[in-house]
């Protein structure tokens, strides 16, 4: 196989000519790691200042405002659009309804064989579907834009649209990434109120008439019939009819989050760097990723990872992958510290 590969590559007509001139160039000069890390540090600081407002509330207001403008356009535009659409539909065939309605795909499934047969990995979930899990059952869905939704045992969830779900009972966990400047948030409707996010990790529990929202990163809004509440990172908001809202602290790596571990979508290592993997592990465990030096960060960026971490928890995967490298690390209470 190997010799055949070489023969095929070398058999290209102009290979010898190319080889002779590329050889003249010699090896590309190495770039000192210290130089790369210094430049990274300064450019990253410049980029952060240029893209992220110092005032997170201001960012939040801007994002919400852009969403509201989007909603407004939905009411202003229809008059013109509807007229055009009526004419257009006379001439155009209907789009494929199935392709339009795919809202998510199943990623990870936990539960008995029968449940696994119902929700195979990769199966499509459509708007209008009702997802029910029983005792010891759970699954995770991959949504658009790399977002994910994990569904705990004893949960009933209706899929209303790609970005809108109704939680009738039970618990879900959403990870909608760190990309806060996107078009609209994920909406989880519940009997007591509507929960929306601005790029975050959070869980929603609907139990009877009460609502329990915990935020691991970012911020979510909860709109009830009468009020709007906000829950921020490290907070747990409890709402019950007639009792008002209660906010308590909740660590991002608290045992409370343990239920999501078995439903973690597998991390695909193909063409990913060690830095990508470490960011994923930190995010999944609710910890901050700290490098003791810029050099160690650069080194992680330059190192490719390979193999598979399928079936491993994020902490097991961290241990397995770093065992194949020279990188040393330690887990502190709320941090993963990369030492070398």
């Amino acid at each position: 196989m190997s010799e055949e590969s070489d023969k095929r590559v070398d058999a290209v007509d102009d290979d010898a000519a190319l080889a002779s001139i590329i050889k003249l160039a010699g090896e590309r000069p190495d770039i000192p790691l210290a130089v790369e890390s210094r430049v990274y540090h300064r450019v990253e600081e410049e980029w952060r200042n240029a893209t992220v407002s110092q005032n997170s509330d201001e960012v939040y207001r801007k994002v919400r405002s852009s969403w509201r403008r989007g909603n407004l356009m939905r009411w202003i535009l229809p008059a013109g659009v509807a007229a055009t659409a009526v004419i257009a539909t006379v001439f155009m065939s209907q789009p494929d309804p199935v392709a339009v309605r795919v809202a998510a795909t199943v990623s990870t499934v936990v539960g008995a064989e029968q449940f696994g047969a119902k929700y195979a990995s990769g199966a499509e979930i459509h708007a209008g579907d009702m997802i029910s899990t029983g005792e010891g059952e759970g699954l995770s869905l991959l949504l658009a834009r790399n977002e994910s939704l994990r569904i705990d045992e004893n949960t009933e969830l209706r899929v209303d649209a790609a970005d809108q779900y109704t939680l009738l009972r039970g618990r879900v966990y959403a990870d909608t990434g760190q990309f806060i400047y996107r078009n609209g948030g994920l909406k989880i409707d519940t009997p007591l109120g509507l929960v929306t996010d601005v790029g975050t990790q959070f869980s929603v529990t609907a139990r009877g008439e009460s609502l329990d929202v915990a935020v691991r990163e970012g911020r979510v809004d909860v709109q009830t019939a009468t009020d709007v509440h906000a829950a921020r990172v490290g907070e747990r908001l409890l709402l019950a009819p007639g009792e008002g809202a209660t906010v308590t602290d909740l660590d991002t790596h608290d045992d409370y989050w343990d239920w999501i571990v078995d439903l973690t979508p597998a991390f695909d290592l193909t063409n990913r760097s060690l830095l990508d993997f470490l960011k994923w592990a930190a995010r999944e465990t609710g910890r901050e990723l700290i490098f003791i030096s810029d050099e160690s960060r650069m080194s992680a960026m330059r190192t490719d990872v390979h193999g598979s971490v399928s079936g491993l928890t994020p902490e097991e995967a961290l241990q397995a992958i770093l065992a194949t490298t020279t990188v040393r690390y330690r887990i502190e209470r709320d941090k993963i510290v990369i030492e070398s």
Binding site: I21, I22, V39
Partner: protein, 205 residues
């Protein structure tokens, strides 16, 4: 460049994400473009690492501030190179370093001369000088290729690794290594022709 090539589409998407504050996109941008820009700069500052560091840092800081204005009229790397040339001039002026002329290597008289005589048997005795000139063409072309393409070509043709060894070094299968070598070769020829307006084979005596 007005035509929308797949690379331009990728560049636009990456630039939009970086401008919007996507950290993964920023890391991808830095990982892909820092090494290429640094080597591009080194050739323009007589391999002075300290100067190259300052110029590349200034260039990339400007680029991340302006990233939202990138519209894909040129490849992202071409845009970076234009800003880098300006910053090189600026740093030279500030440090009062005498600069012969702020010329990109492809416009340097020696390289131009080599281009004019490329492929012709002009009986020049300075074969070593001509080899170095051709080597410069190749280095500039490699700087304009995606990092993984330049790496694959270097592993194969400069370091002489087999396809199996390249596959192992890049952590991919042999078929994928064959494929990347094939695409790298095609990209090299295309870039070479675009930059120098001659086929690379024309340089081989």
């Amino acid at each position: 460049m007005n035509e929308t090539t797949p690379q331009v589409v990728k560049d636009r998407t990456l630039a939009a994400k970086v401008a919007a504050g996507d950290r993964d996109a920023f890391d991808l941008f830095f990982k892909e473009y820092f090494p290429r820009l640094f080597r591009f700069t080194l050739t323009r500052v007589d391999n002075n690492v300290e100067l190259a560091e300052e110029i590349v840092q200034r260039t990339m800081c400007i680029v991340v501030r302006k990233m939202g204005t990138y519209r894909g009229e040129a490849l992202l790397f071409t845009w970076l190179c234009q800003i880098c040339r300006n910053e090189t001039s600026s740093v030279f002026r500030q440090r009062k370093i005498e600069m012969q002329e702020d010329l990109p290597i492809e416009d340097h008289p020696a390289v131009q001369a080599a281009l004019e005589s490329a492929g012709a048997d002009d009986g020049r005795p300075d074969a070593a000088l001509r080899r170095e000139e051709i080597a410069n063409f190749v280095r500039v072309t490699l700087q304009h290729l995606p990092s993984n393409y330049a790496e694959a070509l270097e592993l194969k043709y400069v370091q002489g690794y087999s396809v199996r060894e390249i596959a192992s070094k890049l952590h991919i299968g042999e078929k994928a290594a064959e494929s990347i070598l094939s695409r790298s070769r095609a990209a090299f020829k295309e870039r070479f022709k675009a930059i120098w307006d001659i086929e690379p084979n024309f340089l081989v005596d």
